[in-house]
Amino acid sequence: MKKIKQVHGNAIPLNRADVDTDQIIPKQFLKRIERTGYGEFAFFDWRKDDDFVTNLPQYQSAPIMLAQQNFGCGSSREHAVWALEDMGVEAVIAPSFGDIFRNNCSKVGLLTIQLDQDDVDYLMSRAEELPEGEIVINLESQTVTTGSDWSRQFEVDEYVKHRLLNGLDDIGITLENEQNISLFEELRSGLFPSTDQDGQDNLKIN
């Protein structure tokens, strides 16, 4: 995973609440077995409307997306994160996020910045009125800034921050605990099921 210290640039004002991951990447694109190339299918149905915000020329290649509450709710599909990443989005700012989506973002390396509703509303109007208006997100100092006059702190899980700043591989970190996993397995109850037990009703339909 690449290191992230700062994201800066203009923002796409997606002024909708409860944007679910089905909207971010509809199911027909989940049949692909690759991890890349989802950007052109992001918001596929909404993009059929020429006036949809991601179609507007002033927001092309903006690295930040602004959205309303509960962004990324619904399906666990990580394809939603890959789609945003592939369309050039490096950070999403919203009043709240779907749990699984937010977690997926932290694994892929896409920042999810939670700000108060009033602050999101301010940034949303600003991005609508001033499409080129730059926002600077600094992960180290945990700040969102729009120039000299407006700045807000945001919360971030310390561990996620550490991983993102250093571009650390989560699995690699866990495998440093391999001994603990082995020890746990030795002490673990043998009464839980294993999937390789001989089945009694492994009938085949033919």
Binding site: R16, A17, D18, D20, D22, Q23, P26, K27, Q28, L30, K31, R32, I33, E34, D45, Q69, N70, C73, G74, S75, S76, R77, E78, V81, S96, F97, G98, D99, I100, N103, N104, K107, D157, E158, Y159, D170, I171, I173, T174, L175, N177, N180, I181, F184, E185, L191, F192, P193, S194, T195, D196, Q197, G199, Q200, D201, N202, L203, K204, I205, N206
Partner: protein, 468 residues
Amino acid sequence: MVQPQTIVDKIWEQHIVHAEKGKPDLLYIDLHLVHEVTSPQAFEGLRISNRSVRRPNLTLATVDHNVPTTDRTLPNPDPLSTQQIEVLRANCKEFDIPLWDIFDLRQGIVHIISPEHGLTQPGMTIVCGDSHTSTHGAFGALAFGIGTSEVEHVLATQSLPQSRPKKMSIEVTGELGIGVTAKDVILAIIRHTGVDGGVGYVIEYRGDVIRKFSMEERMTVCNMTIEGGARAGLIAPDETTFDYLLGKEFSPSGSDWEQQIKNWKELVSDEGAMFDKSIVLDGNSIAPHVTWGTTPAQSVPISDVVPNPDEATTTASRETAARALKYMGLEAGTPITDISVDRVFIGSCTNGRIEDLRKAANIIEGQKVASSVSAMIVPGSGKVKQQAENEGLDAIFKDAGFEWREPGCSMCLGMNPDILLPKERCASTSNRNFEGRQGAGGRTHLVSPEMAAAAAIAGNFVDVREII
């Protein structure tokens, strides 16, 4: 004195592999369910990093999301779906993972097959690259959906770093009226909490209504936990749980069974255990629900009318409701019973179990599907299908004019050919009424199997309480 604990904390602490201040706890995973859609990139990641699957025998794979529900001896017309299924087969072979494949009687929706074979048991940690993994919480397991990066993580390490969640108690008191189901209870809960009320929480469902529920009904409730924003919801195991598990293929037997019963009986929230939030709902006041909008929280009792967006409390919810009505092609003030449907879908991990089919058959028996309606039943698994056929339910459905299909996720998410056409209106027993979920432009109304069955016969929504 030992601090009183919630069931969530008990299961959590029994699974901590490693804890360190400032880091999430590393939790051991007892069961990892895998399907064709969210796993290919995870296996590819393993290959790139030259890693293996740590515990293939705590992993089970099946194909469910994109399989056709029509005759499977015929070639699959969709090359991308075919490829995804073949990739799963190859991955399971390469990494030695048990696969309940398309011609295996045990094939079906992951969240149906694991419980029905006794793989889902109290006190376990269970994950799957699917948000409806919360279903397994019905057994008093801590079960939640994960993304593909985490699928790879669990494949490689059989563990997952997790921050301890907040705990919410949702108690449903009293008694449900006739014709009111587990589906109506969870829709009423989500209507109350909103679609993001559960974010950051694990929910424990409690109260008399929950206690009286069968395992199938408990699974319906836990299944839709994610629709209220919480990743996991669970119900403390009791005699209903133990009765369900007794004699199942993967259930413990003999002295192991006796020992596990003792362990499982400890899996309750202690008297005085602290919850971060508590909600109490009166079961007596819950009516059959129908969603009118494009989130599962946008529902009303069947006797109600489509709400007026202008009556919403905030600007944002007014806009969201107005947008939803436009998408759904509905006018505010329309009685729900005046809404006619084009399609009926009975199935999914929410309502595709044998008990759901029995309840639907009970409404349908001796009747005919309205001529304006196209209706289908998709059993949740091969075993559900077989059981239904043994009981003659398939004949009831077919005689009434329903299509009787092969098991899979089907029209719940429309990854296979089972989709709505634009503007088609569907009474569906599934879990999501998102825009385009069942097909681009399709209009989904979430209901119970009984309500879906009644709508198929009448051609419009009817209050099921008036016909049973």
